[in-house]
Amino acid sequence: MAKGKTNPEFMTGVPELLILRLLSEREMYGYELVQAIEAVTGEEIKVGEGVVYPILHALEAQGCLSSKRKPVNGRTRVYYATTAAGKRRLGTLVGEWQRITGAITLAMKGSKHGIA
């Protein structure tokens, strides 16, 4: 049984990070990308699938992604891929993510300030 949507409070910036990460490996169209997000996160992260497209368009408008139409099985798909600017942005986001998760992990373990 598929899990429900991930707690939105924790999701700010996560879809963008995952999208850039996955598209930096190979170009994909929207549906394929959503399947890939579920697969690489072990279905732990689920987003409203329709929400992925505005993020793709915004990243494209910012120059982080490029898109091209390709005919596949009689239908035209819009494939997205990261640009050089997108790869730089991914590097920045990964750095920020690691810093924050490192800090949170540290805090959860209990610090020298002694949380009981």
Binding site: G30, Y31, V34, G48, E49, G50, V51, Y53, P54, I55, H57, A58, A61, Q62, R75, R77, V78
Partner: protein
């Protein structure tokens, strides 16, 4: 594969997004991609053995609610149209800047065009005044168009755009009034050279004079009415499409 209900939902989403100022090119592409995604999700459901009704419902659930999708799109300023992002600039200053820009650019183009005609010998050297006569007529028509036709066309174009985006009418009306006042009180005179080697002149001036007050006010009122009629018709046609 899309059912009538699905088409209605996508239509409603499209009208909502355009009404909120999302650029049409983004709306068109987003809805196309969402429709493709929906179709893929339904196919996947059917392939898992679900019946059509369940597969359709599951596909909608995966896609997210209309409110969720609309909110995610509206949260991104990059996807908004220029009139939605800068309504005051586009509707108030835009028409005037566009009009002045087009007028200046076309004066340069015309000068280049006549110079090219003379350089390549397509126009015989003038004997007593600027020739040929069709060039004089063309200049007169163009000067009339700059002052009386172009402002209304620009104002109407911007009013049409704003009506399609359902943007606040106050800015459209302000822009129409400003442009109409400016163009209504403008006067022009064309002086053709009477001797060989003499330069002609195009003079454009803006003045409130008691002599021409009546005609200037009439032109202003005509311009405002023309622009607002286009705005009203565009709003009405959008409204009736909504009702259909």
């Amino acid at each position: 594969m899309a059912s009538p209900d699905t088409l209605i939902q996508f239509d409603r989403l499209r009208d909502r997004l355009i009404g909120e100022g999302v650029a049409r090119r983004h709306v068109r592409r987003l809805l196309g991609e969402l429709a493709d995604h929906y179709e893929d999700a339904v196919r996947a459901g059917l392939a898992k053995g679900l019946d059509t009704e369940t597969a359709t419902a599951a596909a909608w659930q995966r896609l997210g609610s209309e409110d969720e999708i609309a909110a995610s799109i509206l949260a991104l300023p990059e996807l908004r149209s220029l009139p939605a992002r800068f309504p005051r600039t586009i509707s108030a200053a835009g028409p005037i800047l566009l009009w002045v820009g087009i007028t200046i650019a076309s004066c340069f183009l015309l000068a280049g065009f006549t110079h090219a005609l003379q350089t390549f010998g397509l126009v015989p050297p003038p004997r007593t005044s600027i020739e040929p006569i069709w060039l004089q007529n063309l200049l007169n028509v163009m000067a009339f168009a700059y002052l009386r036709v172009l402002p209304v066309a620009i104002g109407a174009g911007i009013a049409f755009t704003f009506a399609r985006h359902l943007l606040v009418p106050v800015w459209t009306i302000s822009g129409a009034v400003a442009l109409s006042l400016l163009s209504g009180f403008l006067s022009y005179s064309l002086t053709f050279p009477t001797e060989v080697g003499q330069a002609g002149a195009l003079q454009i001036g803006w003045a409130v004079s008691s002599v021409q007050l009546r005609s200037s006010l009439m032109f202003t009122a005509m311009n405002i009415c023309s622009i607002l009629v286009v705005y009203w018709l565009a709003r009405r046609s959008r409204g009736s499409r909504h009702m259909a």
